[in-house]
């Protein structure tokens, strides 16, 4: 069942169209990420879900209830803000218990709930701290506990890990994911970090300029990008323009620079012979070697970049100035720039973009 339905929602700020005709369905209990570059409208979309902004067009349905005109304090959602928004005049306990004023719970019950919430986010023992006595990661946990204690149906998170250092961030990614599986509520998670979105989500949406570019599982998004924006935003990718030579129902035969004539699975809209198409292939789907194999092509190494667990080789064909990137893990060779190498690939890894 669809837990959240966003139906053709648009939101403008003066001239700026922050969210442009967005439609997404999010399932119950799903970890759903919104990914996109800065200023693409992720926060605005989240604020539309939380009720801080009302859509100019379209509607939002959460848990079967139409949300247009429903103010934030009456929605079954809670939010973890990018700045955490911890109340500075209250200690951790009072912050976490903030939303329980009208709950009708006794003092003892509230204390109990606070204790549970703090245990959930691994912050027991910090009850009496003020917000200025907490580290970034601890503040983030307080914000999380404060939202979770409300037992929301949907938790909205706006780049909650953005302010943390890399190591803490990776720890929190795992913890957050574990927590979500443990409590089983729907998470809508905003991030501009593609790796974060890929590792954490059940499904994700890639946004660009207020428009949803693609919705799918991380694997679909990574392996089958539909547009240039998605392909280039997620990870490193080689983009090549080719011309369709012939077509069958299952495959297109395309003439590409460097690669020559290749057969590519035909998944998108119909393509005419002679049309120009954009093809992409990930650097890690290419392999590189010092000697030719039966299906390899000779290239010249331009430069290489070492990244620890992998090395990127930027190469070009002898008769072309187009460069492509190949990545290799644990490469033992350290060839000189200008040396002749051989690349090979599996044509099933080549993807034709829809646009």
């Amino acid at each position: 069942m669809d837990h959240i339905k966003i139906l053709s929602v648009s939101k403008c700020f003066g001239e700026v169209i922050a969210v442009n005709d967005v439609s997404i369905n999010i399932k119950k209990g799903e970890f759903f990420s919104l990914l996109g570059p800065s200023g693409c409208g992720k926060t605005t979309l989240l604020r539309l879900l939380a009720g801080f902004e009302m859509p100019d067009k379209g509607e939002i349905i959460i848990d079967g209830i139409e949300m247009n005109g429903v103010p934030p304090h009456q929605r079954p959602t809670n939010m973890v803000f990018q700045s955490y928004a911890i109340f500075p005049h209250l200690d951790v306990t009072a912050n976490v218990a903030y939303g329980l004023r009208k709950s009708g719970l006794s003092k003892a019950q509230i204390t109990q709930r606070v204790t549970e919430a703090l245990e959930l986010v691994k912050l027991s023992g910090y009850e009496a701290r003020k917000s200025n006595e907490l580290s970034g990661g601890q503040r983030q946990r307080v914000a999380l506990a404060r939202a979770l204690i409300m037992r929301p149906k949907v938790l909205l998170l706006d780049e909650p890990l953005g302010a943390l250092d890399k190591k803490l961030r990776e720890e929190m990614q795992i913890e957050l994911r574990t927590l979500q599986e443990q409590i089983g509520i729907t998470f809508v998670f905003v991030t501009h970090d593609q790796e974060e979105a890929l590792t954490m989500s059940d499904r994700m949406a890639v946004m660009g300029d207020g428009i949803i570019q693609q919705v799918g599982t991380p694997r679909e998004i990574y392996e089958q990008p539909v547009s240039r924006t998605v392909a280039t935003f997620i990870g490193n990718i080689n983009l090549l323009e080719g011309i369709v030579l012939s077509r069958s129902s299952a495959a297109l035969s395309v003439e590409l620079p460097i690669f020559g004539k290749v057969e590519i699975r035909n998944s998108g809209p119909g393509r005419a012979v002679g049309e120009t198409v954009s093809c992409v292939i990930r650097p890690e789907n290419l392999s590189i070697g010092a000697s030719p194999t039966d299906s390899s092509i000779g290239v010249i190494l331009q430069r290489s970049a070492y990244f620890g667990k992998s090395t990127y080789f930027i190469v070009r064909a002898e008769d072309s100035s187009i460069e492509i990137t190949v990545s290799m893990q644990n490469s033992r060779v350290a060839p000189q720039a200008g040396s002749h190498l051989w690349i090979s690939w599996d044509s099933s890894d080549l993807v034709i973009l829809d646009e």
Binding site: A50, F52, P71, P72, H73, T77, N78, M79, F81, Q82, S83, A85, I86, F87, P88, H89, Y98, G99, R101, K102, R129, K130, N132, E133, R146, A147, M150
Partner: protein, 274 residues
């Protein structure tokens, strides 16, 4: 290097002396047993303080000033809260011109404001009273109140109010549980500032006070009767002492809070190390 710091020190002393020595004449002459302010001092007396306690009219004017000051502080600060919140929180048309008009009394000479108000009140058929003084003072104080409060409102993260709404509170409760406590230091500052401005404001009070003088107006009237003047000096000395105590107390509270925050952060640091 040493020379510059010494000359700076000398400068600071001259500066402070210039500021405060005239003020110190007030308590000095209030203990002098002569009606005339001249050296050498003729002798020590508590007479003027006794006189001050006997002078009913002076008490009345002091009381008037306190009442007007209290009203002005409260009223201007409430208006200031509304104004500052609207200016910092809402998108609206014509915000800049409205703000400019509110701030105008800061740059208009007070005498103009006073005369204008006098004409207006008399034309409108109103009568001069402490209320008219208070309303005039509110006009003068609101810009100060707004200026103090805007910086406080701007300085705090708006998403805290949104977080409160998100956690189920409507805007009224959000104001009481989040906005008010966070801007409280600004509110206290505004109350004190407005009270002080009203308490020693003379021109508007002189024009609008009718038969009930505020303290500055009363003092000014006394200047014509040398016999009564030393009593005014005694009162001035008392007010000076009172302001000194209030300021020292406020500073002590601030220091104590700072120390507390410091001690707490030290404690949290040591607990982390352990």
């Amino acid at each position: 290097m040493k020379n510059t710091s010494r000359s700076l020190l000398v400068y600071a002393f001259i500066y402070l002396g210039f500021l405060y020595i005239p003020v110190l004449f007030l308590p000095l002459f209030s203990f002098n047993n002569s009606m005339y302010f001249s050296f050498p001092l003729s002798g020590f007396t508590f007479e003027w303080y006794r006189e001050m306690f006997r002078n009913e009219a002076m008490h009345q004017s002091l009381f008037n000033s306190i009442r007007v000051g209290g009203f002005v502080a409260l009223f201007s600060t409430i208006l200031g809260i509304f104004g500052a919140k609207a200016i910092t929180r809402y998108r609206m048309r014509g915000k800049k011109p409205v703000l400019a008009i509110i701030m105008l009394p800061l740059v208009i000479p007070e005498i103009i404001v006073a005369v204008a108000l006098l004409i207006f009140i008399l034309q409108a058929g109103g009568s001069l009273s402490l209320l008219s003084v208070a309303l005039g003072h509110v006009l003068l104080c609101v810009p100060f109140s707004i200026a103090v409060l805007i910086s406080r409102f701007e300085g705090f993260d708006q998403s805290m109010e949104e977080a409160s709404a998100d956690l189920g509170e409507n805007s009224w409760w959000t104001f009481w549980r989040v906005t008010f406590p966070v801007v409280l230091p600004g509110i206290v500052a505004s109350l004190l500032l407005c009270f002080t401005i009203s308490f020693d404001e003379f021109i508007v009070a002189y024009f609008l006070s009718g038969t009930e003088p505020t303290l500055p107006v009363y003092m000014w009237n006394q200047l014509r009767f040398p016999k009564l003047l030393p009593g005014v000096l005694a009162l001035g000395a008392c007010i000076l002492l009172a302001s000194f105590i209030v300021i020292a107390f406020a500073e002590w509270i601030r220091q104590r809070n700072n120390n507390m925050a410091l001690r707490q952060s030290l404690a949290s640091m040591t607990s982390k190390i352990r």
